[in-house]
Amino acid sequence: MSIIVNHVNHIYDEDTAMASPALIDVNLKIPDGQFIGLIGHTGSGKSTLIQHLNGLLKPSSGEIFFNNEDINDPSYNKKNLRARVGLVFQYPEHQLFETDCFKDVCFGPKNLGLTQRDYELRAYEALKEVGLEDEYFYQSPFDLSGGQKRRVAIAGVLAMKPEVMILDEPTAGLDPKGREDILNLISDLHSKLGMTIILVSHSMEDVADYVDRIIVMNKGRVEFDGEPKEVFRHYKELEEIGLAAPQVTYCMQELKAEGFDVDTDVTTLQEAKQEILKALGRC
């Protein structure tokens, strides 16, 4: 059970004078239950890639397999795929449209053809899961704060009970507490519900704190793929492609250069704290 991306190329406006390659020979294996961070500067192909994973875009060449079935096979049930691979777009709250939050979240599962009882139950569970307080269930989503709206939008995808959840910059525009809340929510979906998560993010600190594996895209190719430690070891190459490592990784590099006996493979604040305390002989 997994997603396999096999030699995928995607060319926008193929066969026209405007043709531009967005994905070039992308190969990935995404096993069940991983928490993946997908990073890359604007225009690196991240969004093009994630739209392939739930069949919104078709590869110009190459295949994508979901649980060993080619999703672009004419006989493949794409509607079913989209329920199983949920995609939360950037600023998903712009897609809220119903008169109240509960109805908005019902929309997805209702279209799966479930009975009223079933889809209402799912919507209720999803809203509970994202931590929206009961008092807002029957309020217009437009009267909520930015962070709350985003939760409702995520609940809309959750109610489809996906096995894989892809989120495109779910924290953009939120304040620091709002960012933390959303990331903790996503982390819970991964640890409690066992979902496979693909998190597209521009915050290296967030990615380093939460994910098991980082995939770095650059100019349509997979540039790095590995554990946060391995990937951020290449901080100089990351800078060249418009990215960076978390601030603490730089700190450790600089401390090392000053003769501190610290491990530079540090990507989170807690690891940095432990390393520094150790180097100072305080633990």
């Binding site: 890359g40 604007t42 930015g146 620091p176 600190e205 601030q247 603490v248 000053e258 100072l280 305080r282």
Partner: protein, 293 residues
């Protein structure tokens, strides 16, 4: 009509006096359903040439406040002076809009031209500037944000950071004294964020333009002259970045944070490492730790 210039506020770029703003929600028949006080008694002074940052969680009133700085909103109570013009003085509305330019969050909502230079020239053209001078201004503005290479490009083919810099150039071409940036980096990647912040800092230091930066990224604030923190429509903290970021716990209560190095230093202090208050940069942390060996 209130007098447009008063002597007591000369020299201030922005001066708000007991500013209150209320959003009034109405139902379909136009009856008042509710009133939300978005800005509640703000006295905020910004001197010419300062680099100011405004922090605050979503819904704290930052953007509503900022919209008063170039007369997009008018106070429900109190007054706002922009370079000594009262914003409610219609005679000077265009002076205010020209002197205090605004850059918003989403680059795609601000660009109207088909070609970069056309977009940048839109502001001065509407001010009735002679054609030749418009081109000079466009030149100069694009150079100031390092986008002169792209003057003939289509904005559609630019990255987010580049588009934001074109938006800033559009404001610069109007020769403002002050630029208000409302979360200009929220939608950008790390590179784009750096470009925009670098441009803002250069404009402040080289051209002496007053910058008011509203942001959720604490790292962008460390070089500001002064930081204001808003909560529930009021200014609840005010000071230098060092004074503000020394209060890690208070900022957390306000749904905010501190830069990652500052937090690391804070946690090390709590673990007993004798570090000074409010370390803002990696360099400071390394230097301070050298003394602890």
């Amino acid at each position: 009509m209130k007098s447009s210039k008063i002597s007591t506020v000369m020299g201030k770029m922005i001066d708000t006096q007991k500013l209150v703003f209320e959003y009034i929600r109405r139902d379909e028949e136009g009856n008042v359903e509710g009133i939300t006080r978005a800005v509640d008694g703000v006295d905020l002074k910004v001197e010419q040439g300062q680099f100011i940052a405004i922090l605050g969680h979503n819904g704290s009133g930052k953007s509503t406040l900022a919209k008063h700085f170039n007369a997009l909103l008018y106070p429900t109570e109190g007054e706002v002076y922009v370079d000594s013009y009262n914003t409610e003085d219609d005679d000077h509305l265009w002076d205010i809009r020209q002197e205090a330019g605004m850059v918003f969050q989403n680059p795609d909502n601000q660009i109207i031209g088909q070609v970069v230079e056309e977009d940048v020239g839109f502001g001065p053209e509407n001010m009735g500037i002679p054609t030749e001078e418009i081109w000079e201004r466009v030149d100069e503005a694009l150079k100031a944000v390092r986008m002169d290479k792209y003057r003939k490009a289509s904005p559609n083919h630019l990255s987010g950071g580049q588009k934001q810099r074109v938006s800033i150039a559009g404001v610069i071409a109007m020769h403002p004294k002050c630029i208000i940036m409302d979360e200009p980096t929220a939608m950008l990647d790390p590179n784009g964020r750096r470009e925009v912040i670098r441009a803002a800092r250069a404009l402040n230091q080289v051209e002496g333009i007053t910058i008011i930066l509203i942001t959720h990224y604490m790292e962008e604030v460390v070089d500001a002259d002064k930081v204001f923190v808003m909560d529930k429509g009021s200014v609840v903290m005010e000071g230098t970045p060092r004074e503000i970021f020394a209060q890690v716990d208070k900022l957390k209560e306000l749904r905010l944070g501190v830069p990652q190095v500052t937090l690391l230093a804070h946690e090390l202090r709590q673990a007993g490492v004798p570090l000074p208050d409010a370390i803002l940069t990696r360099k400071e942390l390394v230097e301070a730790l050298k003394k602890c060996r």
